[in-house]
């Protein structure tokens, strides 16, 4: 049996394109004619498109694992010496495979919706099939006709070995980061599809919000993890001691996160007050569009980035697609403007809904500031003819105060009731946390902590922490039961059972606080040193003394490594705390040298050491770069807490149950 996986993958990709087109046309037809048989055909087409897309991805994976260099893409991004895991993850090492992975995830999300189609409101079904297939069709078109990963190599013979994957991408966190991010991006397409289906069908009640609540949280969770893993990869791989540089590619993944966060909060207002319908539609359209815009940004080559591993000239197709999305949405929102009008106004400025709205505005301000920074080189070139870039100082100067304002309102929100709060209640709720936070600020100044923003950040975090803990305490107190077991753990479990979404939300906020403390400390109090050491020589930094013990070499299949053995000693007691081994790697096939950092992590600080080079004359001297990043690990702990809170919301058993109303047998007196 001689199966050609290149041809098979290509055929499956083409099949998924035909199926997505069929699904789109049939969805529109059954939406207009209400023909249930064609609707069922459209549903089946969506399922089949998902299966075909996924199968074609597996075909590409097979080609990579078998080092089939007759395939252009496999030859370009892998070689025989690479470990199997990186051969597989090389699928998303370049543009073609990344887009296929995106398509597969998108088709998988669409297929999940198609599988559950019978449960959705009758008016939405056909349009839902049409919209999810239109999204799939766009991306599959790009893959099939512009970035097809199943092209044969254009050479008279099959090369014996491939080029190999960029060494920077041969890292476990880079293996996970793109799929997580793409899951977030593609999961956002489902709330977008429901929203568009609601607009197309005219059923603009809160149904689409209710039905996509879990999808939105899933997308947000994956985006959070994807962005964080990207930051962690940059931290351990790029060797500059930081995790975020406001690079255009980083910003491209961060912008949809900002708008999705705003959306998650503003839908709560719509769910309760029937307000912000128009706002929410545009927020989800914006979030989805930003995933496409991010791809345009990173694939078009219009902005320069250290992360642009897959720059091609297909970016303008994404811009065209964005134009279509915005035109269709604008037309539909104008047509449906009567049904989108708010049913009530915000009753009081001192209410949770107004705080949510304020927080939304802050998140969008951060988004616009980031977008402005990203687009500035293009705008400046168009206006002045000179490409000017803005870098970290601009983003920090604009976004740090906005972030701190967001943290403040994150603490205020839980203390204010929905609808309206009285001044007396507000004073009662705020006074103690405010005074204690002020005390912390004074204490920090007294302890010698420098800088306005770090002190503000720590005291704000303390303020919000108190409000969250207070909220849990009051919530648990309110869970008095008549049962025998009235212990605090029992009350806590009752609280999480009855109000899972609200308190898991507080847990996510707690994660944000912990991460903020980590970010503030590691940025504001970072210590950076460069020095050279001979064997036996030592250098002191912070509470550590570093002593160069040896320089060694090792040869692996894929690369040759030169690494230093650096003893870490306690500066005061001279007790040994560990051994760090920063490396320089030379990848044979790629002919590239990379620096592999070595980090001593602790809850207090990260000792981050980079082997910068060797003294060419003596060969026994090595140059090092060392960073001391205080509280760095708390950033990653914060992300874990956020992820845990997200999982709690996704698997809320009360929300998982159907809540359809059943008419009572006797007429109600209410």
């Amino acid at each position: 049996m001689n199966l050609n996986f290149n041809d098979l993958g290509s055929f499956l990709l083409l099949s998924s394109w035909v199926l997505a087109l069929f699904g789109l046309l049939v969805g529109i037809y059954s939406g207009i004619t209400k023909n249930s048989r064609w609707l069922e055909s459209g549903r089946r087409a969506t399922l089949a498109a998902g299966a075909c897309c996924l199968a074609s991805l597996l075909c590409l994976g097979y080609l990579f694992l078998n080092s089939d260099f007759s395939n252009q893409y496999v030859w370009q991004f892998s070689n025989k010496e690479m470990p199997s895991i990186y051969k597989f993850t090389a699928i998303w090492g370049g543009m073609d495979g990344s887009m296929l992975l995106w398509c597969s995830f998108l088709a998988l999300c669409s297929a999940t919706v198609a599988y559950r189609l019978a449960r959705y409101p009758q008016q939405l079904k056909a349009w839902l099939v049409a919209v999810i297939n239109s999204s799939s069709l766009f991306f599959i078109t790009v893959v099939t006709y512009l970035t097809n990963p199943f092209r044969y190599i254009d050479a008279p013979f099959i090369p014996p070995d491939g080029n190999g994957l960029n060494p920077l991408l041969q890292n476990p966190y880079m293996a996970i980061h793109p799929p997580l991010l793409y899951m977030g991006f593609t999961a956002l397409s489902i709330p977008f599809a429901f929203c568009m289906a609601a607009l197309l069908s005219g059923q603009t009640t809160n149904d689409w919000i209710r039905l996509t609540r879990r999808w939105t949280v899933i997308a947000w969770g994956f985006l959070t993890l994807g962005v964080s893993f990207g930051g962690y990869w940059a931290y351990i791989e790029l060797g500059w001691g930081g995790f975020w540089a406001w690079d255009p590619v980083e910003n491209a993944s961060f912008m949809p996160w900002l708008t999705a966060t705003a959306f998650l909060h503003s839908v709560m207002v719509q769910e309760r007050k029937n307000m912000l319908k128009f706002w929410n539609i545009w927020l989800i359209v914006l979030s989805y569009s930003l995933t496409v815009f991010g791809t345009f940004l990173t694939r078009s080559g219009v902005v320069q980035s250290v992360h642009a591993f897959a720059s091609t000239d297909v970016g303008w197709v994404f811009l065209l697609y964005l134009g279509i999305i915005f035109t269709v949405t604008a037309t539909l929102t104008i047509l449906r403007r009567k049904t989108l009008a708010p049913e009530r106004e915000i009753e009081s400025f001192f209410s949770r809904e107004s705080v949510f709205l304020l927080n939304n505005l802050i998140l969008l301000s951060i988004f616009f500031a980031t977008l402005w920074g990203v687009m500035f080189p293009i705008i400046s070139e168009a206006v002045t003819g000179v490409k000017q870039t803005v870098s970290v100082p601009f983003f920090n100067a604009v976004n740090v105060p906005l972030f701190l304002a967001m943290i403040f309102f994150m603490g205020v929100g839980p203390l204010i009731a929905w609808q309206k709060a009285s001044f007396v209640q507000l004073r009662k709720a705020f006074l103690l946390p405010f005074l204690l936070a002020l005390f912390v600020a004074i204490l920090l100044v007294w302890a010698g902590v420098e800088g306005f923003y770090p002190i503000l950040s720590y005291s704000l975090c303390f303020f919000v922490l108190l409000t969250i803990l207070g909220e849990f305490h009051r919530g648990m107190k309110a869970q008095r039961t008549n049962r025998d077991d009235d212990s605090m753990p029992k009350r806590f479990s009752e609280l999480m059972r009855k109000h899972r979404r609200r308190y898991a939300g507080h847990l996510i906020h707690l994660g944000v606080l912990v991460a903020t403390i980590g970010i503030t400390a590691s940025m504001a109090h970072k210590v950076e040193r460069e020095f050279t050491l001979s064997f036996g020589e030592s250098y002191s930094i912070g509470r550590f003394t570093l002593e160069l013990q040896d320089l060694r070499e090792k040869n692996l299949r894929n690369f040759q490594s030169l690494y230093a053995e650096v003893r870490v000693l306690d500066r005061a007691s001279k007790a040994q705390l560990g051994l760090l081994t920063p490396e320089l790697r030379y990848y044979h096939r790629n002919r590239e040298t990379t620096s592999e950092v070595s980090i001593r992590k602790s809850l207090r600080e990260d000792l981050y050491i980079v082997l910068a080079g060797l003294d060419e004359e003596s060969q026994s001297k090595a140059a090092f770069k060392v960073y001391l990043n205080p509280l760095q690990v708390w950033l990653w702990i914060g992300v874990i807490i956020m992820a845990f809170g997200t999982v709690l919301i996704i698997f809320d058993p009360r929300a998982l149950r159907e809540k359809k109303y059943r008419a009572p047998k006797e007429k109600t007196n209410l």
Binding site: N2, D7, R37, L117, N206, E271, H499, P664, T668
Partner: protein, 97 residues
């Protein structure tokens, strides 16, 4: 040869699967177009919204964010509106059945 054969089989399988709803006797009309009518769906949506608001109000009161008077006034408003919605919902469901 094998690849072409598999491609042909997949194509036939997909075409058959897509067109099957047009040839079998299964009642797709009731399965695919069943669902809650628009008005019932809207009222059910409203019912859920009011229940959520009542739940929030209760928790806000118990956690000291609202005074007794404000709580009573807001609660009465919500219960009254919810009552109307449930009555409308019952009427619509009875008409439908």
């Amino acid at each position: 040869m094998t690849t072409s054969l598999i491609a042909v089989l997949i194509t036939i399988g997909i075409i058959w699967w897509l067109l099957a709803p047009h040839f079998n006797r299964e009642d797709h009309q009731s399965r695919m177009l069943k669902g809650t009518p628009v008005e019932v769906s809207r009222l059910d949506d409203e019912r859920e919204r009011y229940l959520r608001m009542l739940n929030d109000l209760e928790l806000d009161y118990k956690t000291g964010k609202l005074g007794d008077d404000e709580y009573q006034i807001l609660r009465q408003e919500l219960v009254r509106d919810l009552g109307k919605i449930l009555a409308d919902l019952d009427r619509n469901l009875q008409t439908e059945s």
